[in-house]
């Protein structure tokens, strides 16, 4: 038994994996509809945006900070980009995503300026910048939703792409969204960055102790700007991807999403104190959260309970990791 306990301690991802397996098996037992390919594919598709945003939050949390501005940045990047595509009449995918990513990057760097130079608490900084950016978009750029009839055609086609499709028992076709591949690619890049580059280890080091990181020779300013800049860039990218997947650009979208994403990251074993967490954990945490919240319908539970479930997950997962980390520190 102690071997299993030790394995859990060294690889917190195993814990999330276990929770995911238990959840999936339980839901599948209650309602076997869960196992239908259409349901499984839809869950994977639903986890793409939460998951990618989770990677952004993971970077910030590893460095010892927190970010609640990313849904606002994502929406700002998406709305500005789509507006620009319509106004300037371009609909190629690459420049569009480059623009959204660039907008996110710039906004993320603003966060970094406040956090690094003014030594402000990241929660307050990102609350402020997030709210300000949302207000700016609604007040200056526009409040109207851009619907499918106005959305750039190639963006919709891109969001529609499927990896493969299967024929279900009832004869209907169902396919797996190609966006899952985009998610996998970003996750792999973030994983490689964190695990196999010195700047990535610098993020862990910063989360482990700022003074120690400085003494050992890490560039704290560079790391802070990298973390918030990259988080913003990923959020901007995810924002446009989100628009492409739902074929609309709504400037009031993603309100309250920060909590779901933070819940997923914490569920994935990341520490709210910084320095601990992994890409694999975050992916598993995102999947678990999506599986739980999206399965309420097939479990016969009213969806209004979804927010309650998210809130409870945040509290339990944070309590569990905080308890774990405090025990280690003691």
């Amino acid at each position: 038994m102690s071997g299993i306990a030790a394995a859990f301690r060294r690889h917190p991802e195993l814990m999330v994996a276990a929770i995911l397996v238990v959840t999936v098996v339980t839901i599948g037992l209650v309602n076997p509809v869960f196992w239908q390919p259409s349901n499984l594919f839809s869950l994977l598709r639903a986890s793409v945006i939460t998951g990618i945003l989770g990677l952004a939050v993971l970077l910030v949390m590893l460095s010892g900070g927190i970010d609640v501005s990313f849904p606002a940045f994502a929406i700002a990047a998406m709305y500005l980009t789509v507006k620009a595509m319509i106004a300037w009449g371009f609909d190629s995918i690459l420049p569009a995503f480059a623009m959204a990513t660039g907008i996110g990057l710039l906004l993320g760097l603003v966060n970094a300026v406040f956090v690094h130079y003014l030594r402000m608490i990241p929660l307050i900084v990102t609350l402020g910048t997030g709210t300000a950016v949302r207000g700016f978009i609604l007040g200056i750029v526009g409040t109207s939703q851009i619907n499918i009839d106005q959305m750039p055609q190639r963006l919709i086609e891109f969001g529609r792409g499927q990896l493969f499709s299967v024929t279900q028992a009832d004869g209907s076709q169902t396919g797996l969204s190609a966006m899952v591949l985009v998610y996998a690619l970003i996750a792999l890049l973030v994983h490689l960055l964190l695990r196999y580059t010195m700047v990535g280890r610098g993020i862990y080091a910063l989360g482990g102790g700022e003074e120690a990181a400085r003494r050992v020779g890490f560039n704290i300013r560079q790391t802070t700007f990298l973390v918030y800049g990259l988080a913003g860039a990923i959020a901007g990218f995810a924002g446009l991807l989100h628009g492409a997947m739902i074929w609309t650009a709504n400037p009031r979208d993603m309100v309250g999403l920060e909590l779901d994403v933070i819940a997923a990251v914490v569920l994935g074993g990341a520490s709210i104190f910084g320095g601990r967490g992994s890409v694999i954990g975050t992916i598993l945490g995102g999947l678990t959260l999506i599986v739980i919240t999206n399965s309420l319908i097939i479990l016969g539970i009213d969806t209004t309970w979804q927010r309650v479930v998210v809130g409870l997950i945040v509290i339990t997962a944070t309590a569990a990791t905080a308890w774990r980390d405090r025990k280690r520190i003691a």
Binding site: Y196, M198, G208, G209, A212, V216, F218, G275, R328
Partner: protein
Amino acid sequence: MAAPLIELRHVGKSFAAVRALEDVSLSIGRGEIHCLAGENGSGKSTLIKVVSGVWQPDQGELLIDGQRIESMTPRAAIAQGVQVIYQDFSLFGNLSVAENLALSSELQEGRKLVSWRRVRQIARQAIDRLGVELDLDAPVETLPTSGKQLVAIARALMSDPRLLIMDEPTTALTGREVAALFRVVRDIQSRGIAVLFVSHKMREMLEISERLTVIRNGRVVAAGPIAEFDEAAITRAMTGQEIAAEGYRWEPSPGAAPLLEVEGLTIPGQLEDVSLRVMPGEIVGVSGLLGSGRTELALALFGMRPGYAGRIRIGGREVRLDSVQRAIGHGIAYVPEDRLTEGLFLAQTIDRNMLATSLPRLSRAGVIQPGRAARDAAGMIREMAIATPTGDRPVTQLSGGNQQRVVIGRWLLNDPRLLILNGPTVGVDVGSKSGIHRKIRELARARGLGVLMISDDLPELVENCNRILVLHRGRLVSDTPVEATSETALGEQLAALA
């Protein structure tokens, strides 16, 4: 004669209007163990930072191998072979031992990518060099303090230093771990590496160092081979005053009833059938190795181990101490070992810290009476002789010794009958330490307070207690009047238990 490894000549350093160092000269030879002694705020840290290039001196010069160094920077210091092990070790608790060891050399080499195989190789070499056993994959935060220190030393040795500066290396170590550390330090010395040992513990200086430099108020007040010093001389140099060991004599007053009687106190796995009694005015020392159950004893008496078995009587009345509130209600006060995390509200003022446990007493219908509160706090600041102009300063501005006085003063405001002190002077400098000791003895004598003093510091126990208990593996193994024992005897007893 060859030039010394490193030499400071008439170095001065000021910060704004404060002179941190004045005319300091110091030289360290190759492979020498040199001890730098001084109280908190004496300029020790500034001196370390000048040697390691963090700060540039305003006056004087710095020579390495007899060559004058024009401008010392941290990078230049490292290149010259100066390595500092800070008190907090500067390690990453969240990262593995291997990564902690390899990070700085990987960074120095300007690597961009991480090869985990190379990280392990580098770490393995560093550990082998030190000749110790450490689990390379363990996160550093899971190691005991002594293990973290070994990681810090191994890391410092990787860059082939010629001078290793250790800032207060023994603060958080037990006696046995200190002995192990000294073996490592002597081994380092045998390879020709000089060690500058920064400390305020006299016994250790006498044991390990060859030469000693004492600084006070930024000036060198004594220096020379260690043979020229004894404990009293070092204390005199550090504090500028004579602090004599006074000892505590206690005479039982006839007919007095015991303040505290404990019978068969048992907490499974921690304490086993412990019985003891404390009379009013007694100062009873409690010693034992880490894990002996001495802290559990304190926690049980303070109501933090509600599941205990056994009987506890206070003032002859049987009581059940199953919550902190109840323990406080029975007049028990506890000053924990780690005052920074357990005893003080660091972000608050001295007054608020002082009054933290007195608020119910100072309130009427749930509202604090500010006048009485201010009077009480001011009175206690005077009584405990806390060095501050007013009580509305943040408590963090006080020195360690004064912070400890705030914690003790807070409990005295509650008028306790039994005061439990866990490591009362850990991290407190010599001058302050004897002040705190005097205060504790005075309180016991004047107020008839019973004191349980838990400490690793054997001289502290012998000087202040009239009776010393030794715990081992949760059992009480001896209860000796102080006249019948000595520091040496106690030291030997503890060493035999280890």
